[in-house]
């Protein structure tokens, strides 16, 4: 999708004018094709805890140029601030302040990642809670301050989760990489040590099969392409009216197309029958199918309200309930029966699409925001339901993403919407896809019930 303003200011006269007029100057964000390496070096690991040493060792093993001080560095690619043992807000400055002097040395597209423990709300140690909570303000402010496409994000490793746990390693690698280009000022919480390290970090979905709903176009098609490049086998679902687009992306990725309206009463049964017929077992389920029917609430009608709820959240509830209901069903003793064979693996990753509208609300989107806020609560509850099964559920909340859908927003409104974030631009469907790819991978097993914003640190909500 075209962002005319951004194209303009990337020309010499445009840049000059924008600078003189004090207009936004959105940086060009490097994606994984621009920067395939996991870590932009040199990477400086701050912190004196055993966890900090552990993190430095992990980064070394990934082949990164690892430093423990900024001494003599004129250019810094990444900074990992390890704050896992802080017991008092007063302890933060000592660890983090060396970064202050290096802020101006951060390379374009640099990464700052903090690793700390989440506030628990326990009254046991007030100073520890205050210290842990304080990290949030630090990271979100750094997100606003960093420039030239750099980002600042944090990992919250629950107490008892070692810093080399698969979830922490996976989150760290994801946040340091160019795959997190449009994620800024956010936290990824790793609540358990579950998950596995992938055989190949560049193809973490190799040997895994994913079903993606709403895959014919836009973000869904981007998810399909990303999953394919990460090694996944795909079943791509969309409504029959989008059948040819679905066929085309299926041909491109050698995926299996499934035309189905997810709101049909028998849709879950049809999905299961389809999977069983082909002997497909899902390792990942991406609930991306979604629609908007915007209208001010004063003009809202059932024709605009009901389909949005039906597609965006009710269909997800039905499909997930039915799929989980197949757990425990087995093949007949003689092995011949098709009915009852498993269609989901015991390490299923469910990722649903929420939205920043579901977090902060949005004028004209009461129906959409209701559905998306529902998704956020749904994955949280679903993760709880899946506790101990090896399966997880999470959501991704895109902010302003350049798609056919957002291209239909009136021009002025669209221009404002895409600038009001720390990166001063709309994200690409690829950015959403990368986040979902990570949450669907084996290392993400310890990330449960989270909603990860992919919004460039949009000013709305948290």
């Amino acid at each position: 999708m075209t962002d005319t303003y951004t194209r303009l200011i990337r020309t010499a006269p445009g840049r000059f004018l924008a600078k003189r007029a004090g207009l936004p100057n959105p940086p060009k964000l490097a994606r994984v094709d621009d920067r395939p390496g996991a870590v932009l070096g040199p990477v400086v690991v701050l912190g004196a805890s055993a966890g900090a040493d552990q993190v430095a060792q992990i980064l070394l093993a990934w082949g990164a140029d690892v430093r423990r001080r900024f001494d003599g560095l004129s250019r810094v690619g990444s900074v990992v601030v390890v704050l896992d043992e802080i017991e008092h807000p007063g302890a933060i400055g000592e660890i983090v302040l060396p970064l202050a002097g290096a802020m101006r040395s951060l390379a374009p597209g640099a990464r700052i990642v903090t690793i700390s423990r989440p506030a628990t709300g326990s009254g046991e140690s007030l100073s520890r809670e205050a210290a842990r909570g304080g990290v949030e303000g630090l990271v979100r402010s750094l997100g606003h301050e960093v420039r030239k496409g750099a980002t600042a994000n944090g990992i919250l490793a629950a107490d008892g989760v070692a810093l080399d746990a698969p979830g922490v390693q996976g989150a760290l690698r994801f946040l340091l990489s160019a795959r997190s280009a449009f994620i800024d000022g956010q936290f990824l919480a790793v609540s358990t040590s579950e998950g596995e390290l992938p055989g190949d970090w560049d193809r973490p979905l190799a040997g895994r099969t994913a079903l993606i709903t709403g895959a014919a176009r836009g973000i869904g098609a981007a998810i399909a392409r990303t999953f394919s490049s990460l090694g996944a086998q795909l079943v791509l679902l969309d409504i029959p009216a989008s059948g040819t687009d679905l066929a085309r992306i299926s041909n491109e990725l050698r995926a299996t197309p499934l035309q189905l309206d997810v709101t049909a009463p028998d849709a879950p049964e049809r999905v299961i029958a389809f999977l069983r017929e082909r002997g497909i077992v899902l390792d990942a389920l991406v609930l991306n199918a979604g629609i908007t029917k915007d209208k001010l609430f004063a003009n809202m009608t059932p024709e605009r309200w009901d389909p949005v709820i039906a597609v965006n959240i009710a269909s997800q509830l039905a499909l997930v309930e039915t799929l989980l209901g197949t757990q425990g069903e087995g093949a007949a003793a003689d092995g011949s029966a098709v009915v009852g064979t498993p269609v989901i693996s015991s390490a299923l990753r469910i990722v649903s699409l929420a939205s920043t509208s579901g977090i902060a609300g949005n004028r004209g989107q009461t129906n959409y925001a209701t559905s998306k806020a529902g998704v956020i609560a749904f994955v949280d509850a679903l993760a709880d339901r899946l506790d101990g099964t090896g399966m997880t559920a999470n959501a991704v909340a895109p902010g302003f993403i350049e798609t056919e859908m957002t291209a239909r927003i009136p021009a002025l409104q669209r221009e404002i919407a895409r600038r009001v974030n720390s990166l001063q631009q709309g994200g690409q469907p690829l950015d959403v896809a990368e986040a979902i790819g990570f949450l669907s991978s084996a290392p993400a097993g310890g990330i449960r019930g989270e909603t990860l914003r992919v919004c460039g640190q949009n000013i709305v909500g948290k």
């Binding site: 409504i239 029959p240 009216a241 989008s242 059948g243 040819t244 679905l246 066929a247 085309r248 299926s250 041909n251 491109e252 050698r254 299996t256 197309p257 035309q259 189905l260 309206d261 028998d266 049809r270």
Partner: protein
């Protein structure tokens, strides 16, 4: 050209002493199909070319069967309303798909029977051992049909092109009259009678005494059967949505005899010989845009690729009638071809489990059935001892036909073949018995093509 590799060189003289062995016939089996929903002319596909639609249909087939980079033996396709620039329509469409770019293609044309004839062509090639797999397909756009210039203008333009001097060119241009510039749309009329197909059929319907009520009932059944087929998911693996259409645009699931009964007759109204015209827009097929395709192969090819054959193409027949001199109705050729097909395979009407009689008009189907029930017709026209008999109407067009789906001329054959193959397979599985189905397609020019399919459900 490089030298052929040594191992491919023909053996010297080793076979020259005796005639080459006759190859035995192989089974041609239908593996499935794909079509786009059919749209009413000027509707959802207005402005879309035949090549776009055919390419999309083939892409859907490739996606459904995972045929990316596959070198298929041959793709046979065609269009009835075809632009002169589309001379290689099928091959050009193939090149726009993920099929191997070395896949050969052929264009075939026989009016409304084009689609079924492409199936005949591919099946014959497979049975004869010339290819192992093939795709039969067809497309038509009534919204993007060729509009030509007048013959006079065409000749003038050719003369202009060959004129050598400015003076010669000026001479040619002075011969131009305003009337030469009027565009010439494709005529919806038989060349030898000047009558439209509907006007011809109105005579046939009248001659056989086909009532308005019977025609409306057949039209209603077509809509209801197709709607029910969509609802039960029968078309999930036969249709791929296109340009916002998920179902056929002409389908009226909520149609009723009352609604159909309110429509005014449109054919036969100006014919003084017809006292009571019966053919309306509701019981005649509308002009339609769309495309369809069928994947056919040997049993071995199907097995190697992991596909279950749906049905075998057993046999086909063609016939034509003399409608020009009024000896027979324009669309009655299948009434002759089907009995011949059944006889050749030792079958009676009752041995056929499913009938697919193309609904060009409701009265076409009804006149065909009436002819088989007629002692007179069967004795005098078919030279039989007596009437062929009546078919069980519950076995006719059980998932609807052209009245509901629409009829993009060259796409109808593929729609019917894929549908019937899937139906026969489904029923053979349910009943555990071999199921046979007959397809009957009438065509302009007084022609018809018919086919016999069979499934053992395995």
């Amino acid at each position: 050209m490089a030298e052929a590799p040594a191992q491919k060189q023909s053996p010297q003289n080793s076979q020259s002493a005796k005639p080459l062995a006759q190859k035995s016939l192989r089974d041609a089996v239908v593996l499935g199909g794909n079509r786009i929903p059919f749209a009413r002319a000027g509707g959802a596909y207005a402005g879309i070319s035949n090549q776009d639609m055919l390419t999309a249909t083939l892409e859907g087939l490739v996606a459904r069967f995972g045929l990316q980079e596959e070198l298929v033996g041959e793709v046979a396709g065609g269009a009835v309303l075809k632009l002169a620039s589309d001379l290689n329509l099928t091959r050009e469409s193939v090149l726009g798909t993920p099929l191997d770019a070395r896949t050969p293609a052929i264009d075939i044309s026989k009016a409304c029977a084009t689609g079924l004839e492409t199936v005949v062509h591919i099946s014959n090639r497979i049975q004869l051992g010339q290819i192992d797999s093939g795709i039969a397909c067809g497309v038509d756009s009534a919204s993007d049909s060729p509009i030509e210039v007048t013959p006079r203008l065409r000749r003038l333009l050719h003369r202009l092109n060959s004129a050598k001097t400015a003076l010669d060119r000026a001479k040619v241009l002075t011969a131009l009259r305003p009337s030469d510039l009027a565009p010439v749309p494709p005529a919806n009329a038989e060349a030898r009678t000047g009558m439209s197909m509907g006007e011809h059929q109105a005579i046939t319907a009248d001659a056989w005494g086909i009532t308005r009520q019977a025609q409306d009932e057949l039209a209603l059944a077509s809509h209801q059967n197709l709607a029910a087929a969509y609802d039960r998911g029968f078309l999930d693996d036969l249709v791929t949505g296109y340009r916002g259409l998920g179902r056929d645009q002409n389908l009226r699931a909520d149609s009723s005899l009352e609604k159909l009964g309110k429509l005014k007759p449109v054919f036969g109204v100006k014919n003084p010989a017809i006292a009571e015209p019966t053919m309306t827009a509701g019981n005649s097929t509308p002009l339609t845009d769309g495309a369809s395709s069928v994947l056919i192969s040997t049993r071995e090819w199907a097995d190697q690729h992991g596909f279950a054959p749906l049905a075998r193409v057993v046999d086909t027949r063609v016939a034509a009638v003399d409608f020009v001199h009024g000896e027979e109705g324009l669309l009655m050729a299948p009434a002759y071809a089907v009995p011949e097909l059944l006889d050749a395979n030792g079958l009676a009407l009752a041995d056929v489990d499913l009938w697919e009689i193309h609904e060009a008009f409701a009265s076409t189907v009804l006149a065909t059935l009436a002819a088989w029930e007629s002692e007179e017709f069967c004795r005098e026209k078919l030279g039989r001892d007596g009437a062929l008999g009546a078919i069980d109407r519950a076995t006719l067009n059980v998932t609807g036909s052209s009245l509901a789906a629409g009829h993009p001329f060259a796409a109808t054959g593929g729609r019917i073949v894929a549908t019937l193959a899937k139906l026969l397979h489904e029923r053979a599985r349910e009943t555990g018995r071999v199921q046979r189905g007959v397809i009957s397609v009438c065509a302009a020019g007084g022609q018809g093509t018919v086919a016999l399919l069979e499934s053992d459900g395995k």
